[in-house]
Symmetry: C2
Subunit: 206 residues, 2 copies
């Protein structure tokens, strides 16, 4: 069975870079945007549309009775979102089947539970997340610290909501992960090398 | 400056064994019961008495106004507890000054903040903690699963209360630690080797 590492992360904590470096270090495949592309392809939608429904407008598009036996009218948007979620699960399973990989986001820790993934949650203190977001912001972005903090909290709250809905687990709660990694004040390169060695031990990678 | 590793842990998660193995693996000193012994010596109390005041009867012995400027009557027990807490801080600082070490418990992550310790929180799922407690219980202990779960939760709640009071931090909240380690389903020996390698990277241990 493939060895799977999943990365969930606070916005601005460097989780994506950590995932990429981890995959390079271990010689694993790395999946991130590719997953959305594949979902879009499978559902004959655009990548932007899939992202928009699965992430940004997620909570608005799912009615309160989703998952219950009460089958009231479902709007076309709801139907489309559910279709995308099913495709997401399929895409994740197919990628997991293909071989060892690191998957960033998409609630993969819970959705790929049968593979017993090495699930990692990446976090950092607010100061460090602000600094990282500033470093990566486009020239045109001119948010105050207060506005940027609000954005960081909003993205995380949205992630939490999506994971709760789609995978039924509480985002960020330690029990849902094998390892929670604080990136504050250290280069991601160093942390990635440390996590790679950790993974070698617990996943028995030669 | 010494390199310090601190271990906070859920009751039954194997944190103490992890700390011991980690110290052996890295060639660090290991402190656990020794700290209570030293506090007892310094305050001319018995070890049992120190433990009882600092752990078991902690919340009962500290009045609500502790730390405020309101200096009402303090019972002899309260005075004694405060004396023990001051001694604890001193003992921890002295041990940290002596050289590289692993310290289990005592809120050391927060109390030794100036040393920038590599602070680890160790946890596991309830099933795994029950199994570990059963394995280590004395022959005479005959608790049902329900009773044992209650005990595990009580010990953790007490630890949380002590840390909140003595160090002013929230026990178990990921932000207070550099790494949170889930021991569920893996031998502590394997996890200790993994954490030791992680520490080598981020603490620059040769």
């Amino acid at each position: 069975m493939s060895k799977i590492i999943t990365i969930s992360r606070e916005f601005g904590s460097g989780g994506r870079e950590l995932g990429k470096r981890l995959a390079d270090n271990l010689g694993f495949a790395y999946y991130d945007r590719e997953i959305l592309e594949e979902i879009a392809k499978q559902t004959d939608t655009g990548e932007w549309y899939a992202e928009n429904l699965l992430e940004r407008n997620f909570s608005a598009s799912i009615p309160l009775h989703f998952g219950s036996t009460f089958t009231a009218y479902q709007s076309p948007t709801t139907q489309q979102t559910v279709k995308l979620m099913v495709a997401e699960q399929k895409v994740l399973c197919r990628l997991a089947d293909k071989g060892n990989c690191v998957i960033v986001g998409r609630g993969a820790a819970a959705l790929l539970e049968p593979w017993k993934p090495f699930s990692i949650f990446v976090y950092a203190d607010m100061e460090s997340k602000l600094a990282r977001c500033r470093e990566r912001a486009p020239e045109s972005e001119n948010l105050s610290d207060k506005e940027l903090m609000k954005k960081i909290r909003q993205v995380d709250a949205q992630r939490a909501k999506i994971i709760q809905w789609s995978a039924g687990v509480k985002w960020g709660e330690r029990g849902g992960y094998r390892l929670c990694v604080n990136t504050t004040g250290l280069p991601i390169k160093t942390i990635a090398a440390a996590v790679a060695d950790y993974a070698r031990h617990i996943m028995e990678i030669k």
